[in-house]
Amino acid sequence: MSDLESQSKKECTLRMQDPVGFHTRTAAMFARQAVLFGSSIQVLFGDKKAVNGKSMLGLMSLGVKGGDDIRIIAEGGDAGEALSALRNLIENGFFQQP
């Protein structure tokens, strides 16, 4: 896990803890969280094109499974908070019901 910081752009690499990866429910939860932030959120997996983290369909299309590593790039004024919230979700949060 590494954090690269620049002016308003932050990113990190995380391991998907939820065994199903991005399925309907987990993708929906991630997108719902991402949409709360003003920053743009991009999610990258393997050599696939980056997807909009606020789109559950986009996230599902990545085909991320449990145990896979994903990269999240947040850009904007609240990039730090966004990353922190999304990291929490990927690492613990999917088990909690909204």
């Binding site: 399925h23 309907t24 429910r25 929906a28 789109s55 559950m56 299309s61 085909g63 499974k65 019901q97």
Partner: protein
């Protein structure tokens, strides 16, 4: 008669009438517009309308089905997905197409992406998108998008496909089984079918002439086939196969070990009814978790005087010691009507069954009859988790009075608060059955005495051979009353048990399992059979079957529906 083959998707066997669900699939015309802003507003409004319908359905779900609510909410969220909206918007503003085509194209884009996924689960999600698209298109056409109830009686759904929203809209308690032309094991509808215990099969040619609306079919979700137009011999064969399995399961003296083992995994507890120390010993050997009913008057059968406190204490202690720390429910002396006991005579009453008996008698003889017994019971409190059961309760006041007397006894014994047992009420008088709400204010638990309840409900004397069978074979009102009692007690947080012989009939037992009874108490000899039978039931499925069956008026159908769940007990 025809056997139609398909792919098993959700286990179970059911027999019911076909309900044909029509599906119309269409591709909209690609038409163009000059007013792009208007088309965007139309598209947006349609998306929001379907979204709010789904959210509405999700919150209206009556079963505590987390799964269904989550799925509906997640799919509602798709309708505001920024990437989807971006594609739709682009089609309208760049290509000048109307809303219908833009919506269709937008959903198609993502359907294709999902269909190209490696993961089977994700590929199956493509059909969710098709379903959503269909709903939005329907709204654009002018449909209100409101869900209208389609099922009115328990049915087997036959359709080309079934979406999660279809399942959400249909009253699931009326769905006996599902038979589809298309679909995959991982469709949300199949996932839900499995979690609800609804038998289902896929890949069936639904256009066969045998599958007509209203026809009764047998759906076998275990083997993945349908028997259409089952001939009477086949039905009988099926039924006797079920009956045979039940008979074998029930006649059995399966080893007490298996009874003890399976009892821990059942949704309800199984205790024993005893009227003697010998029976209590037998109960322990057969693996009872405790005693659900000690018929105390039988422990002193033939006594012409009231047993003293010490004499009672010794007998209760003997029984309690067989279940150290275990549950022992002791019913206060239930004297009256049948025979003279303890020096009490009932000859003077014209109608002793409806006279001074049970707790009424005890409350008129507090010092001589009630207190010695209560004190004896209190004194064994250290040996077992004893609870007191009050017979013939008709009012909450009787319970209150008993509690007061229990307090007095504790004081007189110079005992402490820990001696205070839970106090339950027998539900055997219709007046009690009809005011469970109120009694729940005073009682800690309830115990249904079907022997007497049937007697009073159907006004027939069970010792009179001319009418003793009346009502015992479960007239529908008894089933409904039992359901109501359990439901009302649970609403007040109180548990319900059933102690009568009625619970030893397999269909009745399965009914009780589906009705949510907390405990049943049976004769020790029936314990292993009860365990075997109950461990073969899928709790959610039987719950659903009972709920669906109870919407019928025909007792035979209800019994058949329930009996069909007793199949496969051995497997």
């Amino acid at each position: 008669m025809t056997i139609i083959h398909g792919t098993a998707a959700s286990p179970g066997i059911v027999r019911g009438e076909i309900y044909f669900l029509e599906k119309k699939e269409s591709v909209p015309e690609k038409s163009f517009t000059k007013n792009r802003e208007r088309e965007w507003l139309r598209a947006d409004a349609a998306l929001k309308s379907v979204q709010s319908n789904l959210l509405d359905l999700g919150s209206r779900t009556t079963t505590p089905d987390r799964e269904k609510g989550d799925i509906l909410a997640a799919n509602a969220q798709i309708l505001e997905d920024p990437e989807l909206l971006a594609v739709i918007r682009e089609k309208i503003f760049n290509d000048n197409v109307k809303a219908e085509w833009a919506i269709h194209a937008g959903f198609r884009t993502f359907e294709e992406i999902l269909q190209g996924q490696e993961c089977e689960y994700l590929r199956a999600r493509a059909s969710d998108l098709t379903e959503l698209c269909g709903r939005v298109e329907a709204v654009l056409k002018g449909a209100s998008g409101q869900a209208t109830p389609l099922l009115v009686s328990p049915s087997v759904i036959v359709s080309s496909s079934l979406s999660f929203t279809d399942l959400a809209i249909l009253d699931e308690s009326l769905i006996l089984g599902i038979c589809l032309e298309k679909g995959s094991h991982n469709d949300h509808a199949m996932i839900m079918a499995r979690s609800l215990g609804i038998p289902a099969i896929l890949d069936v040619d639904i256009h066969l002439p045998e599958l007509q609306p209203g026809e009764t079919i047998l759906l076998d979700g275990d083997r993945g086939c349908i028997v259409a137009g089952p001939e009477p011999e086949i039905l009988n064969e099926y039924q006797s196969r079920l009956n045979e399995k039940n008979r074998v399961a029930l006649q059995i003296a399966s080893s007490p070990d298996s009874a003890a083992m399976c009892r821990d995994h059942l949704p309800m507890r199984i205790l024993a009814n005893v009227s003697s120390e010998k029976a209590a010993k037998q109960a322990r050997e057969k693996g009872a978790a405790g005693i659900g009913l000690v018929r105390t008057e039988f422990l002193f059968a033939g006594w012409e005087r009231i047993p003293g406190e010490e004499e009672q204490y010794r007998k209760y202690r003997e029984i309690a010691d067989l279940f150290p720390g275990g549950e022992v429910v002791i019913r206060l002396f239930d004297l009256g009507s049948d025979k003279p006991m303890f020096g009490f005579h009932f000859d003077s009453e014209a109608n002793p069954a409806l006279g001074k008996r049970g707790i009424r008698l005890a409350l008129s003889n507090v010092e001589t009859l009630l207190k010695p017994q209560i004190k004896a019971i209190l004194r064994i409190r250290s040996a077992a988790n004893t609870r007191i059961l009050i017979p013939m309760v008709t009012s909450d006041q009787e319970i209150r009075q008993c509690r007061g007397i229990i307090d007095e006894c504790i004081q007189e014994l110079e005992g402490a608060a820990w001696m205070k047992p839970e106090v339950g009420a027998m539900i055997e008088v219709p007046a009690a059955a009809l005011q469970v709400d109120r009694l729940a204010g005073e009682a800690d638990f309830f115990s249904i005495g079907t022997n007497d309840l049937c007697q009073y409900l159907f006004a027939c004397d069970r010792t009179n051979p001319l009418v003793s069978r009346l009502g015992i074979d479960a007239d529908i009102i008894l089933f409904r009353l039992l359901l109501d009692v359990i439901h009302k007690a649970h609403r007040r947080g109180k548990k319900v048990s059933l102690c009568g012989e009625w619970g030893q009939n397999p269909v009745n037992l399965a009914f009780l399992a589906g009705a949510g009874i907390d405990t049943i108490s049976v004769n020790p000899s029936f314990l292993p059979a009860a365990c075997t039978l109950l461990s073969g039931l899928n709790p959610r499925r039987i719950e659903r079957i009972v709920k669906a069956a109870m919407k019928c008026e025909d007792m035979q159908i209800i019994r058949d529906q329930i009996r069909s769940q007793l199949e496969g007990i051995e497997s």
